[in-house]
Symmetry: C2
Subunit: 215 residues, 2 copies
């Protein structure tokens, strides 16, 4: 499958690399078509890897992943453009946090809104699925490294078909337990979890953990 990555940070690079390893053609998008981090990534990942602008990556992908920092996600996606994102599945991995150490929410409307919803409202013809935002990047791409993969991944989005496609894609990463929370407004729930994630990280002394929902 052709997949576009918006963002060249640690999360974008790890997801892009995993997707190339799984046999997909991946274009990493940046503000500039000649971004150095994207070029270095392409260099290392062979002919299935390519680079371009945010818009190039969005146009390229059947599925597009927002891997930018939450504070700049809307700006980056606007640079990609509604036209390039039209009809596409957009996996929103970003969290609306400020300084990572502090874990402070940057949305003044936290609890009454979410970045996932803001993105869905800004791009009504794009099928936004919020997921992967509740774990560290190493766990995202290698869920079996934690408790053999026996832990949960949340899905939030308005489009059932899009959620099914995302589930199928992420199953190939090793994800086994998906919890469909409902429409995109449920992203308020998973984005609100981050302050707890940050305290767990400090208390456990590792980022290699997740939660499992038990009944």
């Amino acid at each position: 499958m052709n997949i576009g990555i918006i963002g060249t940070g640690m999360v974008g690079e790890a997801l892009a690399t995993k997707l190339v390893q799984l046999g997909h053609a991946v274009k990493m998008g940046a503000r500039s078509a000649t971004n150095e981090k994207a070029a270095a990534w392409v260099q290392k990942n062979g002919k299935a890897a390519s680079q371009g602008t945010f818009a190039d990556a969005a146009r390229f992908g059947e599925i597009v992943l927002n891997c930018t920092s939450g504070a700049v996600s809307l700006e980056a996606l606007r640079a990609a453009g509604a036209e390039a994102l039209r009809g596409k599945i957009l996996i929103d991995v970003a969290n609306p946090l400020g300084e990572p150490d502090q874990g402070l929410p940057i949305l003044a409307t936290a609890g009454k809104d979410s970045l996932g919803e803001q993105i869905q409202r800004a791009f009504p013809e794009t099928r936004v699925v919020k997921t992967l935002n509740t774990i560290n990047v190493d766990v995202m791409v290698n869920p079996r490294s934690v408790a053999g993969g026996d832990h949960g991944l949340f899905l939030c989005g308005n489009d059932a078909g899009a959620k099914a496609s995302v589930r199928e894609l992420l199953s190939t990463f090793g994800w086994k337990e998906f919890i469909d929370l409902g429409d995109i407004t449920t992203a308020r729930g998973t984005e609100s979890y981050l302050p707890l994630w940050l305290r767990l990280m400090k208390s456990l002394g590792t980022v290699a953990f997740n939660i499992k929902v038990v009944r």
Copy 2:
């Protein structure tokens, strides 16, 4: 042990009943010393059960539990009084949420403060331990009803001795996995989890669940 309960709602009643069943002497405190709900509870629970004002309950307990709604917790505890709460362990079970259906945080400072911290600041000579606020009341008092008790309970507080005492008490409820998140500021983490808990409840169609932290 003598235990004081601040609040006569569902949470206060369930915890008070459980504590009487476990052999403790429990005084349920209300705004009025003759509160009808407290009287009915005393009637049902025999001679180990008693009632009084918030201040009576706080004075009575070696351990005191704040089981009021988060929106009125500070007011109720002020009615109990700093003198009655001095030196006591105060287990803060409350969540700073408005309408339960909405799950909206009522703290304008959510993420930068927490109800647990507000209570600790208001009563500096009381040893506040925030816990039990991440599960439904039935799970609080009967953790083995969910996955045989194989799930986690968070502890937040400044006083290690107080956390050890709370852990010991809650072990007798059947709690097995305690996660000490650190000082009382970590209550920001567990209070922030509530919006996710509410979406999980809707998605799972039950309140009989919890999360387990896995590594």
